[in-house]
């Protein structure tokens, strides 16, 4: 039986910290491209993914559940509503590959955590979801490790930069341009982004005159 995987997604005004380089419409398309990359990696690893969206959404690759609740109650409601293993993974991880997903779900521990940059939690795999609850925001990685400890759950910390790299800011686009291989990096290229190396530092630049369209 394939493992259920939930990808929380907030389609309205996503990735606002990229406003200096992408328009609101482009940020929506970019967020959807990253989501698709994550969904396809989950499928590639044999998971059964669905999207937990704050508003109705069409996705060609996965079913969509809509919940207007905040992230923590929405996920904890989901955890409490069923049993068995569950993978929770964020939508802004376009570097994740099926191999990374397999590392998460093949843990020999009771659960696995994938840390994100700045103390966040980018993925959680729980073999018995009834023994865990989530507490996102702030230094959620430390909170999740403590919740596991208190519940007596052994926990593997999955050491992967592909899982660690959530794309929020302009400098994160460098990682995507260098290590990406899916729809999100294709979208950036279609917008005219390329790597820019100045004084030994690597950044991204966007060629002027490029306008991205949904077919872009």
């Amino acid at each position: 039986m394939s493992i259920e995987a939930v990808v929380p997604f907030k389609p309205v005004n996503p990735k606002s910290r990229l406003s200096s380089v992408l328009s609101a419409a482009e940020r929506e398309l970019f967020a959807e491209a990253m989501l698709t990359d994550v969904i396809l990696s989950l499928k590639g690893a044999g998971c059964d993914p669905f999207i937990l969206s704050t508003v109705p959404l069409h996705c060609a690759y996965a079913k969509v559940n809509v919940s207007a609740e905040e992230l923590n109650p929405a996920l904890n409601g989901l955890i409490g509503s069923s049993s068995g293993p569950l993978l929770i993974i964020m939508a802004d991880l376009p570097l994740v590959t099926p191999g990374v997903v397999r590392r998460m779900i093949s843990t020999t521990c009771d659960m696995a955590l994938g840390p994100g940059r700045g103390g966040g939690t980018n993925a959680i795999f729980i073999k018995d979801r009834s023994r865990f609850h989530v507490d996102y925001y702030g230094a959620s990685f430390l909170k999740h490790r403590e919740i596991a400890d208190k519940a007596g759950l052994s926990c593997e910390i999955v050491d992967s930069f592909r899982l660690h790299t959530d794309v929020d800011e302009r400098e994160d686009l460098v990682e995507l341009m260098i290590h990406g291989h899916g729809k999100a990096v294709d979208f950036l290229r279609s917008c005219g982004f390329s790597l820019l190396i100045e004084k030994g530092r690597v950044g991204v630049s966007r060629s002027t005159g490029q306008v991205s369209t949904p077919g872009g």
Copy 2:
């Protein structure tokens, strides 16, 4: 036979981008603490490490070779002077563990690359050093992958956030405070650093009045 591992190190005015939070003397101690963490992880993985320093240096944990040459000619001189496997690993990777080093040196490919943030290369393992040369600075990860390709060398990209996270800037200290477990994080704590969570973002703060001394 244990694998030779070289750690390039520049002790003079290190980690200048941390000047806003650490004095010049503290940055020297912090850089040495990170170097020691790397050396101990190399030893923990069974490697035979030495430091390639730009100036004379005493280290209690490894021998020191001094070379005034720039990084690329110094390392390529070393590569050309001997045969057999070689691991090159940067000194500012305090999150690296013996397990990460073992992932590098146990590759089934001809070589392994550990990418760093922003297109850099944090570690290179070459089974036959005569077939490779280094080209650091800029997007060196892309250059190293191309050098491997042109030499017909199969190359594993080691997916590890511990290897990916070089500590250069204030925000990188968050990673160290959360995931560190060695002399570098001990040094930060002795300086009065702690995690600071404000508006959901995680940073570091330094308590006033704390002065770090070598005995810290």
